[in-house]
């Protein structure tokens, strides 16, 4: 039975559709209206306001905070400057990914970690014997994501933050309607956007201040359905959907390394102060294999797929139907085949992209089929009949507006 978030008093009144879902034990809005379309377009055209309180949040304090997190993360977060956020994942001893999230360096010896799954146990285990205090701030902190081209103007009106100097993946303290908040230029939509963090007691004031400041800019409360479409367009993977947490699965085949998830770019083997991180040896071996090209045949790769619309249209036409796709992003896995009909991978998330006007999918395929431009066959069911449509491997993100990183 999910519990209300600190914003519930506002969100529940706005959620006229009664469409909710369980997000880490919280009642979270799927879509405020019967369809998520307006909310999606708010993310892309004006600004959408999303309650992200259910994220797991941890405060890591102390002289060894950097040491702990660098040992845990595949990214060397000790290199993060104060006021910077780093995206990372963390692995088990065998280099298999446990979870992914952000690490924000709030002060020299103070970090904040976000995670999709509970992570307190792991932080404590890794930090045993180190001079750190670890606080699970998940319930204490409320957070909203304000995402979209107008988000900066709205925050400018609502807070005293120097937003013109807040770079992509930067973090700053600010005052917002007499509240102490942290603002990070982060998000899960792949657009210009921010996340605002404050004590739960101030949640409603935060919400009201943002809504008031956002009204002239067309702010809309947005739910998880709109977020799901946006994050697929942005090429962001989701734990439990596009990959699985290594300690939680039985089958070895369900585990993934960062390289197999397209996260190889964050793995940092150069550790001046901390020679090892958890999973280093396994990942270094994999990196070496990759370099030699021998892993290409065995490993997996996370790629984008673009479905050939003409072929899809022709498929529906053979049933005397116009093409129709589900209105929301979908997570039902679909097999993907090569030209000889051998299965070479699986679609893990797929959606119609309203802004690109394309049917796109995040897909895990054999590395041998991951080259951009490769044509694969994706399963598609029409009238209870399983058919295939061609789809092309493309680089992600599918959608990457210039404003996302613009100073």
């Amino acid at each position: 039975m999910p519990i209300p978030s600190p914003f519930h008093e506002r969100t529940s009144k706005l959620c006229t559709s009664f469409r909710w879902k369980d997000w880490s034990g919280y009642a979270a809005v799927s879509s405020y209206d019967t369809t998520h379309e307006r909310e999606y377009f708010a993310f892309r055209e004006s600004a959408g306001l999303l309650d992200v309180t259910p994220l797991f949040k941890y405060e890591v304090h102390g002289p060894d905070a950097a040491a702990l997190l660098s040992r845990m993360m595949v990214r060397d977060v000790s290199k993060l400057k104060i006021g910077r956020v780093g995206y990372s994942c963390w692995c088990d001893d065998y280099g298999k990914v446990i979870d992914d999230g952000t690490v924000t360096r709030l002060a020299e010896d103070y970090y904040r970690v976000t995670a999709a799954d509970p992570t307190l146990y792991w932080l404590q285990a890794v930090g045993r014997g180190l001079r750190v205090t670890i606080e699970d701030s998940s319930a204490r902190l409320a957070a909203v994501a304000l995402q979209g081209p107008r988000s900066r103007e709205i925050l400018r009106a609502a807070s005293d933050a120097d937003l013109d100097r807040l770079k992509f993946f930067g973090a700053t303290r600010a005052r917002l309607d007499a509240l102490d908040v942290w603002i990070t230029r982060t998000g899960y939509t792949g657009d210009l956007g921010y996340e605002v963090w404050t004590d739960s007691a101030g949640a409603l004031r935060l919400w009201d201040a943002l809504v008031d400041a956002g009204r002239p800019h067309g702010i809309e409360p947005a739910g998880l359905d709109a977020l799901d479409v946006s994050r697929i367009e942005a090429g962001f993977i989701l734990l439990g959907v596009d990959y699985f947490s290594a300690p939680k699965v039985i089958l070895e085949a369900r585990k993934s390394t960062p390289f197999e998830l397209g996260l190889g770019w964050i793995v940092d083997f150069e550790r001046p102060t901390f020679p090892s991180f958890i999973g280093r040896d396994a990942l270094a071996a994999e990196a070496a294999r990759l370099k030699r090209g021998t892993a290409a045949a065995a490993g997996w790769a996370m790629v984008g797929l673009e479905v050939a619309w003409e072929a899809l249209e022709a498929l529906y036409e053979s049933f005397s139907l116009p093409p129709s796709l589900p209105a929301t992003a979908r997570r039902d896995g679909l097999p993907v085949y090569d030209d000889d009909g051998r299965q070479v991978g699986k679609v893990t998330s797929h959606t119609w992209s309203p802004i690109l006007k394309k049917y796109i999918a995040l897909t895990s395929v054999h590395a041998s089929h991951a080259a951009p431009g490769t044509i694969l066959q994706m399963e598609h069911t029409v009238e209870f009949e399983r058919r295939k449509v061609p789809a092309k491997v493309v680089k992600t993100p599918f959608f990457d507006p210039e404003r996302k990183k613009r100073p």
Partner: protein, 541 residues
Amino acid sequence: MNAHTGEARPAPARGPYDAVVVGAGHNGLVCAAYLAKAGRKVLVVERRQQVGGATTTEEIHPGFKFSCCSYVVSLLRPWIIRDLDLPLYGYEVLPLEETFTPFEDGSYLLRDSDPERTKRAIARFSPRDAEVYKQFGQKMAELGRLVKPMIDGLAPDPLARNPFEILRLAKFARHVRGQGEEWLIGNVKMMTMSAVDFLSEWFECEQLIAPMSVSGIIGTFLGVRSPGTAYVLLHHYMGEIDGSYRAWGLPKGGTGAIAEAIASAARALGVEIRLGAPVERLLMKHGRAAGVVLENGDEIAAKVVVSGVDPHRTFLRLVGEEHLEPDFAQQVKRFKMRGSSGKVNLALDALPEFACLPGAGPQLRGDITIAPSIAYLERAYDDAKYGAFSRRPFMDIVIPSLTDPTVAPPGKHTMSIFVQYAPYKLKEGAADWPRQREAFGDAVIDTLAQYMPNLPGRILHRQVLTPWDLEQVYGLTEGNIFHGELSLEQLAFLRPVPGWSRYRTPIGHLWMCASGTHPGGGIMGAPGALCARTMLHARAV
């Protein structure tokens, strides 16, 4: 938003051109892009300083950007969007889902994308109609889908004698026979009935029939009770068939952004676009088109000329009657232009409110239809029949700034009001429009103020476009927004002249690519693309 951006590049080598397209309206641009895609060297010459023609966004008041003429997009062909990669060049369509109709007695009807909510709204007037409403939509979508191939291909032409044509007709006949009796009867009814009669076969309450019937009269000089108007209703439902493509909605940045996207795609394909270059006439050699002569005297030679302007302008002005067979000239003259609508664009200091449903909710963010009753619409038509603008006109209103914050300063709004009837030919003569323009604008605001009492106090700027202005500024003959009325006798193989529906003209090397040809007007792009395809197929260029 400024079309000059593309002109900043060093001027490409001039000529010789394979094709010169007259007019950078959306169809001219689409045609040019397809020709360039096939490797042809194409020049587009445009009279105005920006691309788009009537597909235009203009900042008529500082900070406020208006889709001055066309204001929503419904039928831009998905295959054109795909072929030209338009999303890459900024083509975006935002949702426009609600239809709000206030009535004179203070009641209202709000329809939206939630079928159950809409059903409850209609049930307040007629529980019976509320049930039928969804079935009707389904039936129309079905009819529309079967007619859709017509707008994505050439019109079957029973006047043509060649074997391919007979094959095509036979195929079409088979297609029709395959649909069964019910479909045939439905279609014959659609072709012959009035919008109101057709809708009355389904619905009983006027609160539904009146606002639905106006789809049948937009851009025509006909009333909702005039025979033949039922067919035009179908076009409305065709936009919805393209489902996920969201064919129906508000273009981001106004309709001008669509033209800009097509122009950018065209330029990327190598098309040269010359702005501020009005064409005076066609360059004729041995009775054939050989290029164009600009008003400044420049001659531009090209293998073919493609006209993106309306049939009247093409033949009677650019070609000149002296080059036409008298019979053909007569038929062109018979092609009805007779514009019947105008536009009022308002820059607003704040959102206005409906007296019947105050607040800034869904009633403002969709389509607002002022069509309170059938009698109201018929009286509006009566005024026009006798050469006056409607004192109480039918209006179709959108407030794009509610969905697209890029078109107005924060907190301010733009309101686009399509107004019908405003007959081009006033009884005092068309040239009297400049004198009556503001009175026309006043009639619009007065009428709206009945429903939105606080509207007049919130207007920062008002732009009134009469059919006369549409002709003077945008070059739409008689102010007809579709380059010729979309009535049955002017569609398919009859558009614009029987026997000349295939983009060809009696003048050698002269082709037509705009809304005056099959399948007609609206931001559809099909005439431009089909023209290019036909030209390439015929190896005309």
